[in-house]
């Protein structure tokens, strides 16, 4: 067990080390939350807030926080494919450790990398006078990390089916961007046409976004207008999806590596 833990730490630390040396990735990871919250959120607040009956800037802020953490971790798992392209995957796959250890390490590493984004987004929130008290901060920080883990497991599942970095970069936006709207990052999804309702409930990002919103709006009057499910229900679904994606993704990845 200690052996596997040591390997998980090393694999995760590798991702963090790489991030700290990649200045462009750090800069760009701050750009999208700024655009979504600072520009889109403010614009929605000025135009549609009165008809919705709640503060859309707050709504967007928490949605973008969850979406950024989920998406950043999921897209970070592209490194699984780049490792394969650069032959570094051989070093990982020939090591005397479980395949689950390798992928758990990758998910943890990318989750830690994405978690650093929480600081920048919360800083942006402070600038924009988003009200977050210590109690909500205490709830949102671990919930954000859980959203990262779900994004990482989802990334493993997607990457396990892709053959190279180029296909990953082409396919990944198609599985992520529709979830922005299906998960209700910027738009309320309490009422949806049947087809979109089903797609919305299939999209894993929905549970990450709703989980963070459920904790942020806990005890607030807008809770029933905004939150779809209780945080406990979301946590239950996230746990099931995490295990499902990790097991299925690992199986597919190993099969693809070995059964050529």
């Amino acid at each position: 067990m200690n052996h596997e833990l040591n390997a998980i730490i090393a694999i995760a630390a590798r991702d963090v080390t790489k991030l700290l040396r990649d200045r462009m990735r750090i800069v760009f990871s701050f750009m999208f939350p700024f655009i979504f919250i600072g520009i889109l959120g403010q614009s929605l607040q000025a135009n549609v807030a009165s008809s919705l009956g709640f503060n859309i800037l707050l709504f967007t802020f928490v949605g973008v926080l969850a979406q950024t953490l989920f998406q950043s971790t999921a897209s970070g798992l592209i490194s699984l494919v780049t490792d394969r392209d650069s032959d570094f995957a051989q070093e990982l796959f020939v090591a005397p450790i479980s395949r689950y250890t390798i992928l758990t390490g990758k998910i943890l590493g990318e989750s830690l990398v994405s978690s650093l984004l929480i600081i920048s987004i919360l800083f942006l929130g402070v600038i924009m006078r988003i009200p977050i008290d210590w109690f909500r901060l205490f709830l949102i920080l671990p919930a954000g990390f859980i959203a990262c883990l779900l994004g990482g497991a989802f990334g493993v599942l997607i990457m396990s089916n892709l053959s190279g970095t180029q296909s990953a970069q082409q396919v990944f936006p198609f599985v992520i961007f529709p979830q922005f709207f299906l998960a209700g990052v910027f738009n309320p999804i309490t009422k949806l046409p049947p087809v979109l309702y089903i797609l919305s409930r299939i999209a894993p990002m929905t549970y990450a976004v709703d989980f963070l919103r459920g904790l942020y709006y806990l005890g607030k009057p807008e809770y029933s207008k905004i939150v779809l499910h209780s945080p406990l229900f979301n946590l239950f679904i996230i746990s099931i999806l995490f295990v499902l994606y990790l097991v299925l993704g690992t199986y597919l990845l190993v099969s693809r590596e070995k059964n050529r």
Partner: protein, 249 residues
């Protein structure tokens, strides 16, 4: 001498490939033996070594490493082997030393620490010892891998593979990209660890000269064994037209 590698009727056919890359191959390697799998490019050497090191599944046949079945006990097999791959398998974004430290953690040789200065003294001594043998300096170790030349990357891979003192060392064309002196130093060191630790060496090469010091040479061509025996025996029976080469000087 007990066998540490047993291969029986091994066949590997890649998906969408009409012909097998490895076709009904059988051989055995004794403990502490130096075994060379010799053949031209595309003969099936890398495919064979990939199956033996558990990174590629076989189509059929039986393979045992150190008495362990490669399908059912693959993790235990990987603990006993070390590999130098044909293509560099280093992380170009890490420094040379970070690559070695990462390997040491994967094999649970030392607890992982985020900085070299925090690693145990034994680790530092081992890295210094191995790098001095192969011809890397302390300054080379602190460089990012992407800043190293092809030969230096090769040396680094050799250092990394020797860190966990494997029972069986698989070398997939290990000296490509190395200068003559580094090649000589590598073979001197491998001879030394063979003698002191009883390490079994499984080499794939298309350099006839490198296979001459082997205990057993197996020549493979188009996935089939065409000759198997001692170098002296092989030399007598080797057809002059067999497309093997000598290393560049």
């Amino acid at each position: 001498m007990a066998n540490v590698i047993e291969v029986s009727r091994l066949i590997k056919r890649y998906k969408n490939s009409p012909d097998p890359s490895v076709n009904n191959v059988s051989f055995a390697v004794g403990s502490g033996e130096f075994f060379s799998l010799l053949g031209p490019n595309g003969a099936g050497k890398t495919t064979t070594i990939s199956i033996l090191t558990t990174t590629l599944s076989k189509t059929s046949g039986l393979v045992k490493i150190a008495g362990l079945d490669i399908d059912r006990q693959s993790s235990a097999v990987r603990q006993k082997i070390g590999i130098i791959f044909q293509n560099p398998s280093l992380d170009p974004n890490l420094t040379a030393e970070e690559n070695v430290r990462f390997h040491a953690a994967l094999y649970d040789l030392y607890p992982y620490r985020p900085f070299y200065s925090l690693m145990p003294t034994d680790y530092k001594n081992q890295v210094t010892h191995l790098t001095s043998i192969i011809g890397l300096t302390a300054s080379d170790l602190s460089k990012p891998v992407k800043a190293l030349s092809g030969g230096m990357k090769r040396k680094l891979e050799i250092v990394r593979s020797l860190m966990h003192q494997p029972q069986i060392l698989f070398l997939d064309e290990p000296t490509s990209g190395l200068d003559p002196l580094s090649r000589k130093n590598l073979w001197d060191y491998l001879t030394q660890i063979r003698k002191s630790n009883g390490t079994t060496i499984f080499l794939t090469t298309h350099y006839l000269e490198e296979a001459e010091n082997s205990d057993t040479v197996c020549i493979i061509k188009s996935g089939k064994i065409v000759a198997l025996g001692s170098p002296a025996k092989i030399k007598k029976t080797l057809p002059a037209a067999t497309p093997l080469s000598n290393p560049p000087t």
